[in-house]
């Protein structure tokens, strides 16, 4: 594997019972890139995200982050018989690696959610401050007895800075869920950034936005990539946004990647057109 790989997904299959949601997925995201994952509804995009972020352990396959294997699994137990995916033997017998989502985040991979998940009883500022918790060096005693004053002050300062950068200062003390929809999306991204990630996974950041908001979001994503030196991997349905900012695009259909390439290549790919139009005819 080449060094600039930030994320590499290798032969990942996710099977629920008899249903294969992600089918032998292989993809790479390189440093500094914005890569989009597109595909019809139910193609397994969010499931792929959930595998990468540790919400689900894959049924088979491995995930690498900056060259290190962070997730690996092979069909075990009941799945041994049920497994219908590819490469069933590749990982068998190797050590299964199944980190919890918080470990993945601490490695430097942050994410947002398709259906916004903010901390609803907390203010905008507190939502960001909570994300700083994982960077603490204090333990429960030093934190309770306020012996971590310096660190606490730093957490607060950094959160303030982030709020300012995200243009959320004016709603600082509002309840997170009282914000308008677009701002909630911004806040969710800000909260993810507060964990100081290197790789940011965005799950449909423009869902439910109007064209104007989508345009703003497009610029916003480009801006944070440059300002924070991020690599971005996102799921998105708004083709304008995808075509505008993606360096590369992966297309998923029925859990299988059917195409990969630059926006130009994808736009003219007959298989992609078929998957989308075919899907439209069915519905």
């Amino acid at each position: 594997m080449s060094k600039e790989n930030v994320l590499k997904v290798e032969n990942v299959t996710m099977q629920f019972g008899g249903v294969i949601a992600v089918d032998n997925m292989n993809l790479e995201v390189n440093e500094g890139e914005i890569v989009s994952l597109i595909g019809p509804n139910g193609a397994g995009k969010t499931t792929a995200f959930n595998v990468i972020t540790g919400v689900y352990a894959p049924t088979n396959g491995a995930v690498y982050y900056k060259g290190n294997k962070i997730i690996q699994n092979y069909p075990q137990g009941k799945m041994k018989k049920l497994y219908r995916g590819e490469n069933p033997m590749t990982y068998t017998g190797q050590h299964a690696i199944a980190p919890t989502p918080d470990k993945i985040t601490r490695l430097g991979i942050a994410r947002t959610f398709q259906n916004i998940r903010l901390f609803k009883s907390q203010t905008v500022f507190e939502n960001i401050l909570i994300a700083k918790h994982m960077l603490r060096t204090s333990n429960i005693f030093t934190a309770t007895f306020k012996l971590n004053g310096k660190e606490e002050a730093q957490m607060r300062r950094e959160s303030e800075e982030l709020l300012h950068l995200m243009e959320l200062d004016d709603v600082r003390n509002e309840l997170a869920t009282s914000l308008p929809y677009g701002k909630q999306r911004h806040l969710e991204i800000a909260r993810a950034l507060a964990t100081k990630p290197e790789l940011l996974l965005l799950d449909e950041p423009a869902a439910g936005m109007n064209p104007q908001e989508t345009l703003e979001l497009t610029q916003f994503i480009g801006r944070i990539r440059d300002e924070f030196g991020l690599t971005i991997f996102m799921i998105e349905h708004h083709m304008d946004l995808v075509m505008e900012i993606s360096d590369r695009i992966y297309v998923l259909d029925f859990g299988k990647p059917i195409a990969e390439g630059t926006p130009e290549e994808i736009r003219n790919n007959p298989r992609v057109i078929e998957a989308y139009l075919g899907g439209a005819q069915d519905e």
Partner: protein, 361 residues
């Protein structure tokens, strides 16, 4: 108001309260119901706040509080019974096997630690369970602990199902106030720390909290262990207050009572839990006591229905009213501000009749 000024205010208020209590003790007979309510209220305030830390702030619905209080109470009692009294207390078990006595503060803390250790071990398997299942599993554990402590074979330590007595107790109301006050202050400091924020994040959305790098298992276990530690200490205090203890006291009904206190005070409000525990104890033990009096006449009219037990019926109805019509409880998720606390104590001169309490509910 600046943080420093706030702290000064807080300290001043607490000092004033303690002095007031001290003075009251000098002028009023120690048999007054007021002191009963204050002592028991302080103990219940501590256990209610510890339960709130779990149910209100971390969103873990646990019903094991009575079990952890039992552990604290027994640890305290077993470690403090004077050596010379052991033969009469453990009369069926040849004086028991423990032949030393520890000082009161050490034994109280030991009670907390024993409860915390049990919580850690219980937490390993059960904290993976979700909401109702966690509630019923913790309730089950409390019942198991209660049964184990009544077991004859452990008699040399626990005195089986017999009473434990003769351990040191407290006379002044200041003692439970100071101990419970320190513990509650510690819990508040924890809630205001970065760990407290993480607990609240878990309560609001487990999946998002995990995605923010918060280790769920670790933090849930922390909250569970800390809550149980303080429940253990309150158990020790309860033992001191009651002067005798028995495992059969710590039924699930006790946990329900504490839960009701938490709910009436407002889930997610520390001051709410404190206020509501004093009101709860005062109502159930004191203010409604006249309802148990069969021979109550108003003018020449003999009030019907009144006889022992009626007080509890009325009390239960009041609680149902609160649950049905004041769902947020007294405080909701808010806390009293310092000015609010000042007003509260100004408004509620201690020792007055039921009006003051009732209007809060």
């Amino acid at each position: 108001m600046s943080t420093k000024k706030k702290t000064a205010w807080n300290a001043g208020l607490i000092a004033a309260l303690l002095i007031l209590l001290f003075l009251l003790e000098q002028v009023m007979p120690s048999s007054s119901m007021l002191f009963t309510v204050l002592k028991k209220g302080a103990i219940y305030a501590l256990v209610a706040v510890s339960m709130n830390l779990l149910n209100g702030f971390t969103g873990l619905f646990s019903l094991g509080q009575a079990g952890f209080m039992l552990l604290g109470a027994y640890t305290y009692a077993i470690l403090t019974i004077p050596v010379e009294a052991r033969n009469s207390v453990y009369q069926y078990f040849d004086g028991g096997i423990i032949q030393f006595a520890l000082p009161v503060p050490v034994a109280l803390i030991a009670g907390g630690i024993v409860a915390a250790i049990f919580a850690y071990l219980i937490g390993l398997p059960v904290l993976r369970l979700k909401s109702d299942y966690l509630a019923i599993a913790t309730l089950g554990f409390a019942e198991i602990i209660r049964a184990v402590f009544q077991w004859d074979k452990l008699g040399p330590i626990t005195n089986g199902s017999n009473l434990l007595r003769n351990f040191p107790s407290f006379r002044s109301v200041l003692f439970p106030f100071i101990v419970a006050g320190i513990c509650i202050a510690l819990i508040v400091m924890l809630i205001n720390s970065t760990y407290g924020r993480a607990f609240k994040a878990i309560r609001d959305d487990e999946i998002a909290a995990e995605a923010m790098g918060i280790n769920l298992a670790h933090h849930k276990r922390l909250a569970f262990v800390i809550s149980s530690f303080f429940a253990g200490i309150s158990g020790g205090l309860l033992a001191m207050y009651q002067t005798t203890i028995q495992a059969s006291m710590f039924k699930s009904a006790m946990t329900y009572e504490i839960l009701l206190i938490v709910v009436i005070g407002g889930i997610g409000s520390v001051t709410g839990s404190c206020i509501s525990s004093f009101l709860f104890i005062a109502c159930s033990e004191w203010w409604l006591r006249f309802l148990d009096n069969e021979n109550l006449y108003i003018g020449g009219f003999h009030v019907p229905l009144l006889r022992p037990g009626f007080r509890k019926v009325v009390f239960a109805i009041v609680i149902m009213m609160v649950v049905l019509f004041y769902r947020q409880g007294i405080m909701g998720t808010k806390e009293f501000s310092i000015e609010g606390i000042a007003n509260f104590f100004k408004r509620k001169p201690v020792g007055k009749k039921k009006k003051g309490g009732a209007s809060h509910e």
